[in-house]
């Protein structure tokens, strides 16, 4: 398989999953507690995997400090995104220096 074909197939798989519910014209998706909490579960999972295992294995490093800083930023900044990123980045920088 050529690299271009691989990119196209990867794009088709990704698009198919993205369009799986959205392609329907009428809104037929029932309300469910699972869909309500899924976005939050997804973002916490993405953040945890990225911060706790930046190279694929768990490690106690600046990533963990960034996560703690980000949580503190969320508390102090009333859950504003920029506060989380700013405080997390500051904690990351300090931890890397230490």
């Amino acid at each position: 398989m050529s690299e271009l074909s691989l990119v196209v197939v990867a794009g088709l798989i990704t698009f198919a999953s993205r369009a799986s519910y959205l392609w329907r014209r009428s809104s037929t998706v029932p309300a469910s507690p699972f869909l309500e909490v899924f976005p939050l579960a997804l973002f916490v999972s993405l953040a945890t995997v990225g911060l706790a295992a930046p190279d694929g294995t768990l490690e106690v490093g600046p990533g963990i400090a960034a996560g703690i800083g980000g949580i503190l930023g969320a508390v102090l900044g009333r859950r504003r995104i920029l506060w989380v990123i700013g405080a997390g980045a500051a904690a990351f920088a300090v931890a890397r220096l230490v």
Binding site: E3, R18, L22, P33, V37, A89
Partner: protein, 222 residues
């Protein structure tokens, strides 16, 4: 188009633009580094339009097409519940062509912003997401092009891009943590993600942890 909603989407995603741009540059650099032609790196950003899937693609390219497609499928599966969640937020009047355009840019970042925006009164969700999506796509493509063209002249990892990118997801999660169910879901997701790192292959960790945590959270009464 509801102009205030479009502008709000543009404004909100602008805050996330710098780390997204840097990640786009990083993808361009890595793609060229593994031997991909610069035009194909940019084409991948246009066709796949998924940071995680694109990084899996270039990372597993030497391992062959099978490994790439298994990883891409694992990463893509998280879009199914995302698609369902976004479909629930759209009114029935939004046409199929528009829905497919919104599906094309169903990425974690603008999806998160849209879910948060849906809690504000007066926001037209399809227009809000369109505004955010346009900025995101342009930003991602320019970043990839720059990385692919400049190649080894830039090293975005020097600025801690890889480590800081997850903070953006923490930022997207923060406004959603309200109430008992949300707190339990967040804790379950963190625990499930740590467990997933130890037992699941890399490409399946986020999807596995998110689905497990959402199943836990969905059983909790508010």
């Amino acid at each position: 188009m509801h102009r205030p909603s479009v502008l709000q989407g543009i404004r909100d995603v602008a805050a996330l633009a710098p780390p997204l741009f840097a990640f786009g540059v990083l993808f361009g650099v890595l793609a060229v580094d593994v031997g991909m032609a610069p035009w194909l790196a940019v084409a991948a950003s246009l066709i796949v339009l998924s940071g995680a899937a694109q990084f899996a693609l270039v990372g597993l390219l030497p391992a062959g097409a099978g490994a790439v497609l298994v990883a891409v499928t694992g990463l893509a599966l998280r879009h199914v519940p995302m698609s369902a969640a976004l479909a629930r937020l759209l009114p029935a009047g939004v046409g199929r062509r528009r829905r497919l355009a919104l599906a094309y840019v169903l990425v974690d970042e603008t999806f998160g912003l849209t879910v948060i925006a849906a809690r504000r009164p007066g926001v037209v969700i399809a227009d809000y997401k369109t505004g955010a999506d346009v900025v995101l796509v342009v930003n991602w493509l320019i970043g990839t092009t720059l990385g692919a063209v400049l190649g080894r002249l830039v090293d975005p990892t020097r600025f801690g891009v890889g480590e800081l990118f997850p903070l953006m997801f923490l930022g997207l999660a923060a406004p959603l943590v309200r109430g008992r169910r949300a707190w339990i879901t967040a804790v379950a997701a963190a625990v499930a993600a740590v467990a997933a790192v130890t037992v699941l292959p890399e490409a399946w960790r986020v999807t596995g942890a998110a689905v497990a945590a959402a199943l836990v959270g969905s059983r909790v009464r508010e």
